[in-house]
């Protein structure tokens, strides 16, 4: 499959709720904040404690004071009760606060790490992965991990402690009544299991639909003008609608199961109360238990069902978190860009040239896709300080060469030398600092014109920025903008003309004062008069600088010292303008076409 290899997995799997490998990974992120997690578990146990005391106090109130007419004792119980309530409120608030803080802290770390990692991934990765999907990773997936904390999954251990506590108290109060009450537990577990599976499936479908909706929406919005232009609104809407309907169906499914589940659990709870009254009532009559015990039992059972009900919610959250972790782990495992390689000889022996900025391609082979070679052994040298032009048919691989030079991709065979040094042995950062590249597609950020030129690099003075803008003739239009250099550029530069954007991108490359200049169609959207002016300004500015100029318009390259013609993955012609004309091959053909010499009409 040509560019078909699609990268990171789509949100298709929502597997286990527990996976040791993923848990370890997650724990790695939680670990730095483990003291917070510990604190919240302690708080949770405290909450459970003060909660468990409450029914017991009611029991004591009934048995010791109400039935014996002791009003003073009642006041004491009321005070204790008040303390328990206040304690519950306090611990609970603290617990939730600590828990959410932990979640936020973990998420912050994770987002930072993800973004830093994304910034280090190679160009190849971004060829394969649509922006929409990556955005989903950094937002939705990370958010679903946050849910783990917000929904209190971490305190599942606390929940279990609480359940055991309740069971213990009930058994202690009255073993037989407790056992009778517990007969509903198997029913409860069976029902939970039954619903859990169905809820999980519905939930899985829902997430899948949501991810698709996001991806579709992202692209449809980015290309909205085309959708409108080609009257595709109806079909685009239908596509969106289909996803929306699927989402609705999945959502409805999960809501139905959710509400059925709640109702059934409620019903089982009521059933257990009935059991208590039926069996406990007889025991009261027979004097085996007191009235207060019965009331306390009723209260305890209610508290008993709550964590069980919540367990199933937490289970789903956990499942989602595992699925998200799975995808995040995959993303984090993507190989970052290679740094400076030490396993290669740093320089070819003895020929380390003292000159600055000599570029050499040595038998370079390259392909993006296995079965589709782009370069088949390209060799050439650009002597330091020389200006070399690269021409060739569209799709010949010119842009590829400029990308290889700055190590956005690496040759599959052969090597590229800078001053005799294999560029793979250089730190990409240092390599790129020496090169100023104007890419074929200019990209502007939201911000001022000035910030777009300097990229907010404090090392670039206002004066240098303006000089760069003047050299590329951008100052002419910038002056006419309201605010001049402080004019706001909208995202992607949508409020500028294409040529204006190109000039700014060009100015950016110049402002960084690079040793080597690589211009990939840097003036393809610029009119000839402006282009000529840029050339004369550049001639002064870039004297003595190595430059590689890629252009289809031969007027762009007239000042080059040498011209290379790239054809079928090889350097097909190499020489000065006059030499190549004399050769009367591809270059000569292109030249005649542009000079308007070819007969037409």
């Amino acid at each position: 499959m040509k560019h078909g290899a699609r990268g990171v997995s789509e949100e298709s799997v929502l597997g286990k709720a527990y996976d040791a490998r993923l848990m370890r990974w997650l724990w790695g992120w939680v670990r730095p904040h483990r003291h917070l997690v510990g604190l919240s578990i302690v708080l949770f146990v405290a909450v459970s404690g003060v909660q468990l005391v409450q029914p017991y106090l009611v029991m004591v109130a009934i048995d010791r004071y109400m039935l014996r007419g002791n009003v003073a004792g009642l006041n004491l119980i009321a005070l204790l009760f008040l303390a328990a309530i206040l304690g519950e409120f306090l611990f609970r608030s603290l617990e939730i606060y600590v828990m959410e803080r932990t979640g936020q802290a973990v998420i912050l770390d994770l987002r930072r790490a993800l973004f830093a990692h994304l910034q280090r991934l190679p160009a190849r990765f971004f060829d394969r992965n649509p922006v929409g999907r990556l955005v989903t990773r950094v937002t939705t997936d990370v958010e679903s991990l946050n849910e783990v904390f917000a929904s209190g999954v971490v305190t599942v251990a606390g929940d279990l402690v609480k359940l055991l506590g309740i069971i213990g108290v009930m058994l202690w109060l009255d073993t037989r009544l407790a056992l009778v009450t517990f007969t509903v537990v198997p029913v409860m577990l069976a029902l939970s299991l039954f619903f859990r599976v169905r809820m999980r499936d519905a939930y899985r479908r829902m997430r899948l639909c949501l991810a698709r909706i996001n991806a579709t929406l992202h692209e449809a919005l980015a290309g909205m003008h085309l959708v409108q232009l080609f009257n595709r609104q109806d079909r685009q809407y239908a596509e969106f609608e289909e996803l929306n309907r699927a989402h609705l169906a999945a959502d409805t499914g999960s809501v139905i199961y959710d509400s059925l589940f709640s109702a059934v659990i409620e019903w089982v709870g009521t059933l257990s109360v009935a059991l208590i009254i039926w069996y406990g009532g007889r025991e009261i009559i027979s004097g085996a238990i007191t009235f207060g015990v019965l009331v306390a039992f009723i209260e305890y059972t209610q508290r008993f069902f709550q964590p069980i009900r919540e367990l199933s919610t937490k289970y789903t959250v956990m499942q989602a978190a595992m699925a998200s972790s799975e995808r995040l782990v995959a993303l984090m495992a993507e190989q970052p860009e290679a740094g400076a390689r030490t396993d290669l000889p740093a320089s070819i022996t003895g020929v380390t040239s003292s000159a600055r900025g000599e570029l050499t391609f040595e038998n370079v082979h390259f392909h993006y896709q296995e079965d589709e070679p782009v370069l088949n052994g390209v060799s050439f040298t650009v002597e330091a300080g020389r200006k070399v032009a690269l021409v060739g048919f569209t799709g010949a691989g010119k842009t590829t060469i400029s990308k290889l030079l700055v190590r956005l991709y690496e040759p599959t065979a052969g090597r590229i030398l800078l001053d005799g040094v294999d560029i793979r042995t250089l730190e990409p950062r240092n390599l790129r600092r020496r090169m100023g590249v104007v890419l074929q597609d200019s990209f502007l950020f939201r911000g001022t014109i000035a910030a777009n030129i300097t990229l907010d690099d404090p090392a670039i003075t206002r004066r240098r920025m303006e000089e760069a803008a003047c050299a590329v003739q951008a100052d002419r239009f910038i002056r006419d903008l309201s605010g001049g250099y402080d004019h706001q550029v909208q995202s992607r530069g949508s409020n500028l003309s294409t040529g204006q954007k190109q000039l700014l991108a060009f100015a950016r490359a110049l402002a960084f004062d690079p040793e080597i200049l690589i211009l990939d169609e840097a003036t393809s959207s610029v009119d000839p008069v402006t282009e000529r002016r840029i050339q004369s300004a550049l001639a002064k500015l870039t004297r003595g600088r190595t430059s590689l100029i890629i252009a289809h318009r031969l007027s762009t390259i007239v000042s080059a010292d040498r011209i290379l013609v790239l054809h079928q993955g090889l350097v097909h012609e190499d020489g000065t303008h006059a030499q190549l004309l004399a050769r009367d091959d591809l270059y000569a053909r292109l030249y005649r076409l542009q000079a308007g010499r070819e007969s037409r009409k």
Binding site: L67, A78, T399
Partner: protein, 340 residues
């Protein structure tokens, strides 16, 4: 909010039990009510808690909903570009005659105009080149035709109809527009080219691809037309992307073809082949050709030179060259011999 609401919910329940025990218990103790009354009372009180707390939840989510609603409303309130009130449904076919009369228009309200008092006429079937310096307003003229940019009534006409009265879908159906910046969708090349077709026939797509000079590139792709394009077109070369966008415009067999510098990343040989192919194809169409390459512009029947939003020169390429104005200067600048 959650941090307070949930504990509050719990404590409210506790409070009710407290009241029941303290106050109700007293009544039981002095014999005013029975123990049964007390239990029933507590249970009822317990039931009251939920609705009270739920009210809090509801109010809370309602407030959040309102914030979201305001934001949604902002989008929904934006006037859509429809034909409401203005569309003349009797217009169903266009022949491709374009006229612009004294048009002054700007991209932002009350902003500096991108076009000043512009007038021009393009006859049906004519090929007119639009040239001019960076930012002179060429793309702005192109954007007006599919009504991406709103113009005042009575300034732009097609076949004599005010453009604002032509139903949008009719207008756009007749346009083949290859924008200056080619954006492709992450689908196959075939789906990208057939983007504007209801029921794409295989040979239609192939013909458009061939006409756009893509044949040789497709031969190099093992998957041919089924090759998947990376998002926005990142896995194609600049020229391949532009030609795919051109094929997408051509496949509809448009009455009006707008090429906004859409071969700027294509070498001259391929470009000439494409333009030759377009000229030879039997279909009659009006072509608006925007280009910075003057050999290309010179192929047009007529050239209009824009400068700072005004039409400064107009005529056949030959006559403009003889006239010695901006067009002639641009041509001279692009001469390759100059400093070779």
């Amino acid at each position: 909010m959650r941090g307070i609401l949930i504990p509050l919910m719990g404590s409210l329940g506790g409070m009710s039990s407290l009241m029941a025990v303290w106050f109700g218990g007293r009544l039981v103790a002095v014999g005013t009510i029975s123990l049964g009354d007390f239990v029933a009372f507590s249970a009822y009180l317990g039931m009251l808690i939920w609705p009270t707390v739920a009210m809090g939840w509801v109010i809370n989510s309602f407030q959040r909903g309102r914030v979201a609603m305001v934001r949604l409303q902002e989008i929904l309130d934006l006037p859509p570009e429809t034909d409401e009130g203005g569309g003349d449904m009797s217009i169903t076919e266009l022949h491709g005659e374009i006229e612009i009369r004294n048009l002054t228009v700007s991209h932002i309200e009350n902003g500096p105009p991108a076009l000043h008092n512009l007038s021009l006429r393009i006859g049906a079937g004519e090929t007119v080149a639009l040239v001019g310096p960076v930012g002179s307003g060429k793309s702005t003229v192109a954007e007006i035709l599919p009504r991406f940019l709103r113009v005042p009534d009575g300034t732009v006409f097609m076949d004599g109809h005010d453009i604002n009265r032509i139903p949008l879908s009719v207008l756009r159906r007749h346009l083949g527009y290859a924008p200056q910046e080619a954006f492709l969708f992450s689908r196959s090349l075939r789906d990208n080219i057939a983007f504007g077709l209801e029921n794409p026939a295989a040979d239609e797509v192939e013909r458009a691809a061939a006409l756009s000079g893509l044949s040789r590139d497709l031969d190099g792709f093992p998957a041919g037309l089924e090759t998947l394009v990376g998002e926005g077109g990142v896995t194609l070369s600049g020229g391949q992307r532009q030609r795919t966008a051109l094929a997408r415009a051509l496949v509809r067999g448009p009455r009006i073809l707008i090429l906004d510098d859409s071969l700027s990343s294509v070498d001259s040989e391929t470009e000439q082949q494409i333009l030759d192919g377009l000229e030879q194809s039997t279909q009659r169409r009006t072509t608006l050709l925007i280009s910075h390459r003057l050999t290309t512009a010179s192929r047009a029947d007529r050239v209009i030179v824009l400068d700072a939003g005004r039409a400064v020169e107009e005529g056949t390429p030959g006559s403009l060259l003889a006239q010695g104005g901006l067009f002639a200067e641009m041509c001279r600048r692009q001469e390759v011999e100059g400093s070779a």
